[in-house]
């Protein structure tokens, strides 16, 4: 009915699965603000293990939502909806604050985790206020900048390259570490490695899954790692599920 109303009334529309996704996004969008106010979002942390130092390198903060529609909706679904309706700014601010609060608590208890990584979506990199917001949060929680890492996706960079370049430079000025996520899945233009002041490359899971069984995938991963070393970047492999 909403689809017909949006397209000039006095009409009919056949149900399509796409409408279900639209409805879900509408429901989620309406629930976001109250969920944020009522503490329905929470963070989980996934460790990154340093293979050379045999220590915990850092951990990635991952948002989860105890959502009413439907139960525990995946971030893959609600993050794009949050980007569309603009609440991603408030949500990311909350994630940064919560991750920094947790990091401070770990510092105080002598926890071996020494750095926390937060995913930043593309629209935020269009905002000049991001570096200022991060600096304020770090100041509020008395955290040194090297204890925070920002993860950005390769596909996000392609879309807003020039603008993001500026924001990344601002972030580097305050010594924030930047990680390029999902490397290899987009166009993987080598010019990004030269122009962006990033510190780390994260190789996408799709490459890592094939590294044990496929010579081609192994060769690709080897090439990415060698390339990263030439640019003095460290490399994280994500989606590691096998001992071999």
């Amino acid at each position: 009915m909403r689809h017909v109303k949006n397209h000039g009334k006095n009409n009919i529309a056949l149900y399509h699965l796409f409408f279900h996704h639209q409805d879900l996004e509408c429901q989620l969008a309406m629930s976001f603000r109250s969920a944020l106010q009522n503490g329905k979002f929470y963070l989980c942390y996934q460790l990154k293990f340093n293979l050379t130092e045999h220590s915990i390198a850092s951990d990635e903060a991952l948002i989860r939502w105890n959502s009413p529609v439907p139960d525990n909706v995946s971030p893959v679904v609600f993050t794009p909806a949050a980007e569309k309706n603009g609440i991603i700014f408030e949500l990311t601010k909350w994630i940064l604050e919560e991750a920094c609060r947790q990091m401070k608590q770990w510092n105080q208890s002598g926890h071996p985790i020494k750095r926390v990584a937060v995913n930043i979506s593309a629209p935020l990199f269009l905002s000049d206020s991001l570096p200022e917001m991060i600096s304020k949060i770090l100041y509020d929680y008395q955290l040194p900048a090297h204890q925070l890492e920002l993860e950005i996706t390769e596909t996000a960079i392609i879309e807003y390259f020039d603008k993001e370049l500026h924001v990344i430079h601002l972030l580097k000025k305050v010594e924030i570490s930047i990680l390029l996520n999902d490397f290899g899945t987009g166009v993987s233009s080598l010019i990004y490695l030269k122009k962006l002041s990033i510190d780390t490359l994260k190789i996408d899971k799709s490459f890592i899954d094939g590294v044990h069984t496929s010579f081609e995938y192994k060769a690709l991963v080897k090439m990415i790692i060698q390339l990263a070393k030439l640019f003095k970047l460290s490399v994280v492999a994500e989606g590691v599920e096998k001992k071999e």
């Binding site: 942390y45 460790l47 192994k218």
Partner: protein
């Protein structure tokens, strides 16, 4: 994981090391070694045993 190390990878992330965990779980693992063994995430325990060279966890 060993293949990735040979290829020169610096760090790894994934279910072999640890699933996404509540901060309380990570806190408890480091601070209270007397936690009920069955409640601990097994992947993480393996890493922690390796890190701290102990079987106590």
């Amino acid at each position: 994981m060993s293949v990735l190390k040979k290829l020169g990878c610096d760090s790894v992330q994934g279910y072999l090391i640890s699933r996404p965990e509540y901060p309380d779980v990570l806190n408890t693992l480091y601070t209270q070694k007397n936690m009920d063994h069955n409640k601990k995430p097994q992947n993480l325990i393996r890493v922690l045993r390796f890190l701290f060279k102990t079987e106590e966890l």
